[in-house]
């Protein structure tokens, strides 16, 4: 038996079995429950697949599946509104993260080589602390009697506290803060690979820095831009903790809507259907991005 065959036969099997049982199968169950009806029972959905009834059981099971939950999502303005809000906030937050990410990645890629590992370490370290704690840290800063307002008022810049906590602005700050490393790394790697002589050539030919940024740098790092945006946008759409701690009850994002539906209303079939829709919404930009990456190649 060669090494390759050892890896093929023995190595793939345990992870395949584990992921099949705990990833693929649960996903099929979600799909199936999203097509069921809510009932007040344990478990709170119907139909249950009754295998003891033989083929007849499977027949009743199939005939009772319906698209009711999906039509609820489309009919309920609050529901599809939550998807629209999530997409809007995620898109806006991705754009802001891109701007802040460039602020960080451009000087990082220009820094002397011996300083770079230190800069990377400095970037990674806050990212390794708990997500929950990082969102929590912003509450103390942003709340009306918080540190930001205290600072601004003692400087005499404002006379009344700014209301930032529990607004969309706070959600955006939270997302930019929490997802920044996901943006900076792809940007930095593409910037580092870039040939600096291209910029010199552009400058020699009379391009202003701004012009050469858009005409030379941006096309060169475009794959990195797309990768970074995908890495921020995808988790931001389904984000739960940040909107819950920093946002208000008025900005309902899909993660929280799903959470409420599941834990408060105990409508598991509807929550399952919302999860499937969320996945579809998240996957579409990924597929679009893949296409983009293929055409630029």
């Amino acid at each position: 038996m060669s090494l390759r065959r050892l890896f093929r036969h023995v190595a793939a099997l345990p992870p395949a079995l584990w992921l099949g049982a705990f990833f693929a199968l649960p996903f099929l169950i979600v799909l199936r429950i999203s097509l069921s009806e809510k009932v007040t029972a344990q478990p709170p959905y119907r139909p249950i697949l009754d295998l003891s009834a033989g083929w007849e059981g499977i027949g009743t099971f199939l005939s009772q599946l319906n698209l009711f939950n999906y039509s609820t999502i489309l009919d309920d303005e609050l529901m599809w509104g939550a998807y629209v809000t999530s997409l809007r906030i995620a898109a806006l937050a991705t754009l802001l993260t891109l701007l802040v990410g460039l602020m960080l990645a451009l000087p990082m890629a220009r820094a002397p080589r011996r300083l770079r590992p230190l800069l990377i370490m400095l970037l990674v370290l806050p990212f390794l602390t708990s997500f929950l704690i990082r969102a929590y840290a912003w509450i103390a800063i942003l709340k009306p009697e918080g540190l930001l307002n205290g600072l601004l008022m003692s400087l005499g810049l404002i006379s009344e506290p700014l209301i930032v906590l529990n607004t969309e602005t706070a959600i955006l700050i939270g997302i930019v803060y929490s997802y920044l490393p996901f943006m900076v790394f792809p940007l930095y790697t593409s910037l580092e690979k870039m040939d600096a002589s291209l910029l010199e050539a552009a400058a020699d030919l009379g391009a202003t820095p701004l012009k050469s940024f858009f005409l030379v740098t941006v096309p060169c790092i475009w794959p990195g831009v797309l990768a970074g945006c995908a890495l921020v946008f995808i988790p931001a759409v389904g984000e739960f903790i940040i909107p819950d701690l920093l946002g208000s009850s008025e900005t309902l994002m899909i993660g929280r809507a799903l959470w409420n539906e599941f834990f408060a209303n105990r409508d598991w079939p509807l929550a399952a259907a919302m999860a499937i829709c969320l996945l579809a919404v998240v996957l579409l930009p990924v597929i679009w991005q893949q296409r983009q990456a293929e055409t630029t190649r």
Partner: protein, 266 residues
């Protein structure tokens, strides 16, 4: 690109790093505040660390998080390393695309969906929720992270060493244990650390998959945060940050010194 930093670059770097660090530093600073108010500084005190030690519910959940983290990171490291070996070394095999999809999909899957699907699965098979369901859930979503790290190490690895061992008559398993495994050990270690921190950090998936007796630390903190900001949470957060910093430093030291000895004769 390389060169010198302009003054503008330094300003940008400083601002961005301040944005990253100021919130955390403030959090740590106010954990030592004598006042109950998080916003008014009333002098240095370690009283919140004391009250933390008397908060039995918090200590229990921290212990639970630690157990879940160690168990899930260990299983995920074994399975993730195997997955990386299969993906990097088996060439093409039937079902490779499906297998790769299953390994990487949990990386981008919104955690709320992972949590929901696992809970529905545990209910469907009638498994009681507790330590093991959270551990299984955390293992499942961290396997992919381990696989990515180990795979990148396998990609830049000198295969002639394995071939040499085989040519000298070592059977495949022995080659794997004595040549391949020591060479990828730093990546395996890094994978374990990442899986552990991800598990320690997770709130959403644990909320779905835990039972009455298996509240994890993030869940406990989350329920207290919803009631308001308290210095006690700041103290707990500071300790968690400290733990992560220690793990990261230990990990990078291990990678630095462990990495050099990997090809030492066995």
């Amino acid at each position: 690109m390389s060169g010198r930093l302009s003054r503008f670059d330094l300003v940008r770097l400083t601002l961005a790093l301040a944005f990253l660090y100021v919130p955390i530093l403030l959090l740590v600073l106010y954990s030592f505040n004598a006042s109950r108010l998080v916003t008014v500084w009333a002098g240095f005190s370690t009283q919140w660390y004391g009250s933390l030690l008397r908060n039995q519910a918090l200590l229990d959940s921290a212990w639970m998080s630690l157990k879940v983290g160690i168990a899930s990171a260990t299983i995920a490291t074994v399975l993730g390393t195997l997955a990386a070996l299969a993906l990097a070394r088996s060439g093409r095999f039937r079902g490779r695309a499906v297998f790769a999809g299953m390994v990487y999909a949990p990386l981008v899957m919104p955690e709320i969906i992972t949590g929901l699907s696992l809970l529905l699965f545990f209910v469907a098979i009638g498994m009681d929720r507790g330590f093991w369901t959270v551990t299984i859930a955390h293992t499942t979503f961290t396997i992919g992270f381990v696989a990515v790290i180990v795979q990148s190490r396998l990609a830049g690895f000198d295969r002639s060493l394995e071939e040499a061992a085989m040519d000298l008559g070592a059977p495949p398993l022995q080659t794997f244990l004595l040549v391949t495994l020591p060479l990828i050990a730093p990546a395996v270690g890094a994978g374990w650390v990442l899986a552990f921190t991800l598990s320690l950090d997770d709130l959403v998936i644990a909320s779905f998959t835990s039972g009455p007796g298996s509240t994890t630390l993030p869940m406990r903190i989350y329920s207290q945060v919803r009631l308001g900001v308290t210095p006690e949470i700041n103290a707990a957060s500071t300790l968690m940050i400290l733990v992560v910093v220690i793990i990261v430093l230990a990990g990078s030291l291990l990678a630095k010194f462990g990495g050099r000895n990997t090809v030492a004769p066995a």
